[in-house]
């Protein structure tokens, strides 16, 4: 190498370092570009500022409308309950309910009634604004059937919002019946069920309220009438008790007085700390989407992206600059929306007098809300990076919108989760991305600093991990030319099928592997729906295992491996493993099991299983406990180990690992393996075990060690109690039977960790230099993979 050439290589290396100046330039340009775009400005700035005041005004208008609506009620048999009505003899034991307003005014039910000729007595009625009562004495009514029809049509057509029939009942109780009976009857028969529509005065002591559940005004009227009737009944009961010489205090031996110790400030904060983060996160997401689409998919569509790509700006500089711009808009949207919503709702709430405990909300305390801004930065960055990466896959703005909707759908549950009642910051919840950060902010706002500090490292770690992954993904998108220049418009089913058949390779392609994983997972999901009951016999149990394992996991894999690859052995990675590795692998299974048990226990304390789930599993476990040992081993260990390993560590891992990123292959396989277990607690354990099995599959280049380890783990899990029952002296030193079944002694668990480490280390050292992927597949990858290798020797691969 000449000196000139050496200098050039050095210069080239230096040039690949991202520079802040370039990032700043790109950021400034993207910001200016977006700010010059009217559509963006409207969605991100004008809309939030206008939206909430407009919605707030509408709400206030509607509230006023509801209040202004006059509730009209028709009362049948007014003579029973009217005070100072001379036409009928007054019963001294019935307290009056109504008072006549104007003797001359007669109601005209055919037109909308507005005045009314009766009113409730003031001490019973309470608020009587917008309430019009029309009374008919019993003498003015016709045949019962005719009246029933009339009442039904009045309520149905909205002539009256509801009809109160007091003709039956009131008079006949007549003081001789006990007070309790009267009130029971009144309470029990209030709603106008169809069978009580018959207006015969035979059912003694009932008051009927006719309403229409399909009409809101009618439901409001019903509520108002019922509360009046309740008060009326109360006076009545009190009067009777008084007459019977009972002291009123007997009825009420004590009173409950609730005292909220939280200061007013905290009460307000508690409300805002729930609603504001949600609003901000949803808008942070929305605010990231539109600029992301415009900055990547839009630029691709307009052709300016290629201009930028052939400028000296590095891919990383472009990604960072664009990310900064997207993030700025995301945060701006979130903050503007939150502020606008805050102001509007405070004003509207004050007007409407709504708030916790009927108090006005007032302004939320501003200082704690600053925590929200601190948390907004990483979450905005996360959403922006995700949006940028997804938008990069689209070739046009329109396509970008198609892609971003699913992303939003997937992220939204993470934002909704903290809103669920009972969600508090714990180790378990803080491990969930976005949700953890949300809950952390909430405890900061509420002033639980010690709690927040305790979980801060976990939340920071999880958020950091997600952020790094999202950013790397975004950057990868910008380095992949099939993403930047690919044209998928010519996709055709027929051509694609032909291509799948004609260009079959020895092992699965990454796409095929992913497709297989998705098919298996979707199949398992629907398979679970089919199984409705826990089987009661061993044959039912074996069906429960065979159906998903062979039908839903192994069968699709074998089918795809046979149809779409040329070598079943290669695609399932059934490769021989050097004999010197087998002892380590065999030992590893036994050494891992105590750790596996420990992990499962730990996870079930973190995310406890519901009592229903445990109850559902008990008969299953009992069946296994009583069945033939060899049968159980075959069902629970051999079948799952073979089926799952061939699928996950064989076909899927083999396909993904060809993508020149074995670590990602391990991760994706492990996650799919985890999801296939269905129950969250099992899924987490399975994912972690899957990572290890994936690594072993990578190091040994074969699926067989995974099968053995998987078999050992499952086998040990179902056999622990039986082994303990054997009472072999040596084993009794390792396993004891405790309250929760057979357990390892803590000492052995600790030793198992050392055994496992030793086994893994020795496996690592003995597999150095072993090729994990068939050399012929490697050559095929160099030509078809996304990042072709410059190697003139591999111009014409023969496969």
């Amino acid at each position: 190498m000449t000196i000139d050439s050496q200098q050039k290589r050095l210069q080239a290396r230096l040039a690949n370092r991202p520079k802040w100046q370039s990032i700043g330039l790109i950021y400034a340009r993207e910001m200016r570009d977006q700010l010059r775009d009217r559509r963006t400005l409207f969605t991100i700035i004008v809309l939030p500022i206008m939206l909430y005041p407009v919605v707030g005004m509408l709400l206030m208008q509607m509230a006023q409308f509801t209040r202004a609506h006059t509730t009209s009620v028709c009362i049948l048999g007014v003579e029973q309950v009217t005070a100072s009505d001379d036409s009928t003899p007054w019963r001294s034991n019935t307290p009056p309910l109504l008072r006549r307003l104007d003797a001359d005014a007669q109601p005209n039910p055919t037109t909308a009634p507005l005045g009314g000729n009766y009113e409730f007595l003031p001490d019973i009625a309470g608020e009587q604004k917008n309430l019009a009562l029309f009374g008919y004495p019993s003498s003015a009514l016709g045949e019962p059937d005719e009246v029933a029809r009339q009442v039904t049509s009045w309520v149905r057509d909205g002539v009256f919002d509801c009809v109160l029939d007091v003709r039956a009942g009131i008079g006949q109780t007549n003081g001789s019946t006990t007070a309790t009976a009267a009130s029971d009857q009144t309470a029990g028969k209030l709603p106008g069920e169809p069978d009580t529509m018959n207006l015969d005065a035979t059912d003694v002591g009932s008051v009927k309220v006719f309403f229409n559940i399909a009409s809101d005004p009618s439901m409001v009227a019903r509520g108002r009438i019922e509360s009046v009737l309740n008060r009326w009944r109360g006076t009545w009961v009190r009067d009777r008790l008084h007459d019977a010489g009972v002291e009123l205090s007997v009825l009420d031996p004590f009173q409950i007085q609730g005292i909220d110790i939280a200061p007013k400030r905290t009460r307000e904060t508690a409300f805002w700390s729930k609603i504001l983060p949600f609003i901000m996160l949803v808008w942070a997401m929305t605010g990231a989407f539109y600029p992301a689409i415009d900055l990547v998919a839009g630029e691709k569509e307009r052709g300016t992206l290629e201009t930028l790509l052939c400028s000296p700006a590095l891919r990383s500089e472009i990604v960072w600059g664009k990310l900064g711009a997207v993030m700025s808009f995301s945060m701006l949207t979130a903050v503007l929306n939150a502020v606008s919503m805050l102001l509007t709702s405070v004003l509207v709430f004050q007007q409407m007098g709504i708030g916790p405990g009927g108090t006005s909300m007032g302004t939320p305390p501003l200082a704690p809300m600053l925590w929200l801004l601190v948390a907004l930065v990483p979450l905005s960055a996360l959403f922006s990076a995700l949006a940028l990466a997804v938008a990069a896959m689209a070739r046009s703005s329109k396509e970008g919108q198609y892609y971003l909707m699913p992303l939003m759908m997937m992220t939204l549950p993470l934002v909704m989760l903290p809103m669920l009642p009972g969600m508090v910051l714990s180790v378990g919840t803080s491990l969930i991305p976005v949700t953890g950060m949300f809950l952390l902010v909430r405890s900061l706002i509420e002033g639980h600093f010690a709690d927040a500090l305790l979980h801060l490292p976990i939340v920071v770690m999880v958020t950091g991990l997600c952020l790094t992954t999202a950013m790397r993904w975004a950057q990868r998108q910008f380095e992949t030319e099939s993403v930047l220049f690919g044209d998928g418009d010519h996709w055709e089913l027929g051509a694609w099928m032909r291509h799948l058949w004609q260009d079959r390779q020895r092992a699965a392609t990454p796409t095929l592997a992913l497709a297989c994983g998705v098919i298996v997972l979707v199949g398992l999901f629907f398979g679970k729906l089919v199984i409705t009951e826990i089987p009661q016999s061993m044959s039912g149990l074996s069906r429960l295992i065979f159906f998903p394992q062979i039908g839903l996991i192994l069968a699709p894999t074998l089918l795809m491996a046979t149809m779409m690859t040329t070598s079943l052995k290669s695609s399932l990675r059934i490769n021989s493993v050097p004999w010197r590795l087998w002892p380590i692998i065999a030992l590893l299974g036994f050494a891992l099991h105590p750790l596996h048990v420990q992990l499962a226990t730990w996870i079930s304390t973190l995310y406890p299983l519901s009592p229903e789930a445990i109850a559902a599993m008990t008969p299953f476990a009992n069946q296994l406990g009583s069945a033939n040992w060899l049968g159980v081993l075959f069902l629970m260990a051999v079948v799952p180990a073979v089926c799952e390993e061939l699928t996950f560590r064989g076909f899927i891992f083999g396909g993904l690992a060809r993508n020149q990123s074995p670590l990602r292959a391990i991760l994706v396989t492990a996650i799919m393996f985890g999801i296939s277990h269905g129950v969250l607690q099992q899924s987490i354990t399975a994912t972690i075990v899957g990572l290890l099995l994936g690594w072993i599959a990578l190091r040994t280049g074969s699926v067989l060690p995974g099968i053995l380890i998987h078999l050992t783990l499952n086998g040990m899990s179902v056999s622990m109690e039986r082994i303990a029952d054997l009472n072999v002296p040596v084993i009794n030193q390792l396993i004891y039977v405790g309250a929760d079944g057979a357990q390892y002694l803590p000492l052995y668990s600790a030793m198992a960790l050392i055994f496992t480490m030793t086994c893994l280390l020795s496996l690592y050292r003995r597999t150095q230099g072993t090729g994990s992927i068939h050399p012929l597949d490697r050559i095929a990858d160099r030509v078809s993979g996304p990042q072709p290798v410059v190697d003139p020797a591999v111009t014409n691969p023969t496969i």
Partner: protein, 268 residues
């Protein structure tokens, strides 16, 4: 200045499986020279130039510009080239001046240096009357001038023009060819792809005729005429193409854009 050896680019295609858009081509271009790539649509010209401008990675083969490998030292290569193609559009919401200045700054020029350079360039390309017009309101000719100014802003030793006259009217196209000729005279190394034969005849010092991803022949025009016993360039071109197709015994639809060539070929 530009050295290309056995450059190959393979795309994955649904219909034909792996498809070689560029098959093992080699050529060199010296400073002060205009090298023409002539070929029908879908011949692989754009792919070659995109590899040279580092936006695509070659499948195999080596291409260097001023001693820097396009595949492994793309940043250094991009600093030395100006790339103008139909795909390198300009920003709608930036004025001509802002756009060129932005790329000047990305090339690491200081604000003062950019302003000084832009005054010269805008004068030279007669762009002063639309320096404050936003890209969205420019005519095709104006846009092309902005693209050229953008490619020239850092005064690169190598300039790559990919079908740069496509869609331009005669006046603007003539103007462009004049600019290219002037650039050659200042010692730049130029590579120019087109499917229009007259442009090659008038402009290029040396020409390579491409078809189906291969260079069928290359050299100066007199050399080509002598080698193929032809006096008319169009005759020569068709003769080469039909002979090549007879060799490959492919159907005669040469001008059909191929599926997996980059979209630019299909636009034309």
């Amino acid at each position: 200045m530009i050295q290309v050896q056995h450059l190959t680019k393979v795309y994955e295609d649904l219909r034909r499986g792996k498809f070689e858009a560029v098959s093992s081509i080699s050529f060199t271009v010296a400073p002060g020279e205009i090298f023409g790539l002539l070929g029908p649509n879908g011949a692989g010209k754009t792919t070659v130039l995109r590899i040279l401008s580092t936006v695509l990675q070659p499948t195999s083969g080596i291409a260097t510009i001023d001693g820097y490998d396009v595949a492994h030292e793309p940043t250094m290569v991009r600093r030395r080239i100006g790339f103008v193609s139909n795909n390198t559009a300009i920003y709608d919401r930036m004025t001509a001046w802002e756009m060129v200045a932005y790329f000047g700054r990305l090339h690491g020029l200081s604000l003062d240096a950019v302003n000084a350079r832009l005054e010269v360039l805008f004068e030279q390309l007669r762009m002063n009357e639309f320096r404050d017009v936003p890209g969205g309101k420019m005519s095709t000719g104006m846009r092309q001038k902005v693209s050229i100014a953008r490619a020239l802003v850092h005064d690169p030793p190598v300039l790559i023009f990919d079908e740069a006259t496509l869609g331009l009217d005669v006046l603007v196209a003539r103007n462009l060819l004049e600019v290219i000729r002037q650039l050659r005279d200042t010692g730049k190394c130029l590579i120019f792809s087109t499917h229009i034969m007259s442009e090659v005849e008038r402009l290029c010092d040396r020409t390579a005729i491409m078809h189906h991803g291969r260079i069928l022949d290359s050299g100066t025009l007199p050399e080509l005429f002598e080698r193929h016993q032809k006096s008319d360039f169009e005759e020569l071109f068709f003769d080469l193409l039909s002979r090549h197709e007879a060799d490959e015994s492919l159907p005669a639809s040469t001008a059909t854009p191929t599926l997996n060539s980059p979209p630019i070929e299909a636009i034309a």
